[in-house]
Amino acid sequence: MAIAAGFHVSIAASGDPEKIALMTSILVPGAEPRWAADAVKDADIVVLSIPLHKFASFDPGLVAGKLVVDAMNYWRPVNGVQAMFEDGRYSSSEIVQRRLARSTVVKTLNHIGYHEMEDDRRPEGSPERRALGVAGDDPGAVDAVAEVIERIGYDTVRLYSLSAGRLLEPGAPVFGVSLRRAEFELALHAQVA
């Protein structure tokens, strides 16, 4: 979707890009498989989407100074209990931000199923266009990520605090639900009230 919207996309796994070259060429034609450090170095936005149990061993230095989209969820029934994410004071993205202290973290894309993404995107102005929440403490970063989300085919509801990322987590009314922008906002308000 990002390639179709005109972005340059690199994909990195944990190891040698040669290992994901075939996969990438067939499943994501146009994307460039690279070593993680190289992919990050040239990127304006890094989408971090790794199994959450690997996050504890993820090197924060790899994305230092970068705008990082946290597309991950702490999902106990799927991931099991992870001590790092058990602190009820913080949203999972705040915990990610605390660990990636030298990065700017924005939460989005965590509350749409990967299997829905291609079917649900619509051009701007379409009455059916699905909305996604974009949450972060840095307003410039939230706006930058929201613009990308809008270009790839969704409306956005911007939340200027990472703590509000909680409203997008598993169990929240917008999680995994296809909503128009007005419906999305209504669901968020109902939750806060």
Binding site: L22, M23, I26, L27, P51, H53, W75, P77, V78, N79, G80, G113, Y114, H115, E116, E118, D119, E169, P170, G171, A172, P173, F175, G176, V177, S178
Partner: protein, 347 residues
């Protein structure tokens, strides 16, 4: 078509209700399941698979025992797991159980290996979810060694090493068919190709056509690993009744109920009827309707996905045994012949 068309049934042994809507016992559910497998054989269904689960709603934790009972009463139908959660099992035991089933059934056993989308078996057997990938990778590797049939030497981090170990019972005529069940992980597709196993695409939500690149990836990866072409299958949930409306209305209340309860534990919203109908429609993952509707959808999706096998996952927690028997009967007597007819006229 390079591989023969195979049309089967899968079940997770979903808990069924009696006529008054009360859940029946696990024991009776399992006895009913044997009858369902026997009926499938009588009607000419090619394959009957049981998915391993460990919950009150899906009490089929020892599928191979049930398959053994079906094997003893049938002659033709192939029998297998759908899936075996290999990550939390011992590959040696899985091989032993299914080569035993292969012996009982006269060579009709198959195994579909999966990583498991529900995680109940991990704490039950003392495994750590953090080892999810390593467990599957190593155990598939050992399983591939066991299938070769000779004494096995193997070493890894997830179980005791084997040194020149003879693992019995031996199979009579080479390895039984092994599939890797894939729900969306491209690594699993490549892994299946690496070992020369068959590929089973589990498409349980969303537009099935998005899996088409997985078949292409599988073909290319097989070539890259120097393997011969292998078949691709599709596992899809559904329900067949006399009319489209009957099928939808029978299925929907139980679908809503089951997904409401799964949603509560996993934190996703209950699907709306609108979402359900979208999944039932042409571009959705559910095969629900009259025999003609379901046959048309199968016949359209198989070539689009580069697949030659379809396993209908029938049943949904709460549907009665009688409704399931009707589903199986319509699938065997009407859907299967119609799919064969539709695909024959296409090729």
């Amino acid at each position: 078509m390079q591989f023969p068309l195979v049309l089967g049934l899968d079940t997770f042994g979903d808990r069924t209700n009696d006529a008054e809507g009360r859940p029946i016992s696990h024991a009776q559910t399992i006895r009913n399941l044997v009858e369902q497998g026997v009926l499938a054989d009588q009607l000419g269904v090619d394959f009957f698979g049981i998915g391993e689960h460990h919950t009150d709603d899906w009490p089929l934790s020892a599928a191979d025992v049930v398959l053994g009972a079906i094997a003893a009463r049938t002659k033709r139908i192939h029998l297998g797991s759908a899936v075996t959660v290999l990550s939390s099992d011992d590959p040696v035991r899985v091989f032993q159980r299914y080569s035993t089933l292969n012996a009982i059934s006269g060579g009709r056993a198959e195994v579909i290996l999966g990583r498991g989308s529900s995680i109940d078996s991990f704490p039950l057997f003392g495994y750590d979810l953090a080892d999810y990938e390593t467990l599957f990778e190593e155990k598939v590797n050992l399983f591939a060694e066991l299938l070769k049939g000779g004494p096995v030497s193997w070493e890894g981090t997830t179980r005791a090493a084997l040194i020149n170990q003879d693992v019995v019972p031996h199979t009579e005529a080479g390895p039984f068919p092994v599939w890797i069940g894939v729900g969306g992980s491209p690594q699993s597709v490549v892994r299946a190709a690496h070992y020369g196993f068959n590929l089973m695409l589990a498409i349980i939500g969303g537009n099935p056509s998005r899996f088409a690149p997985f078949s292409r990836l599988f073909d290319q990866a097989l070539k890259q690993f120097g393997q011969t072409p292998r078949p691709v299958g599709v596992h899809g949930p559904g329900h067949v009744a006399a009319t489209d409306e009957n099928a939808r209305e029978e299925f929907w209340p139980y679908y809503e109920d089951v997904f409401r309860r799964i949603g509560k534990t996993r934190g996703f919203a209950t699907p709306t009827k609108e979402q359900f109908l979208r999944e039932v429609g042409l571009h959705g993952a559910l095969y629900i309707g009259s025999p003609e509707t379901v046959a048309q959808k199968i016949a359209a999706n198989l070539p689009a996905l580069g697949a030659t096998r379809f396993d209908l996952k029938y049943g949904m927690g709460g549907l009665s045994h009688e409704a399931l028997m009707t589903n199986i009967e319509l699938y065997g007597t009407e859907v299967i012949p119609r799919v064969r007819e539709l695909l024959a006229s296409k090729s």
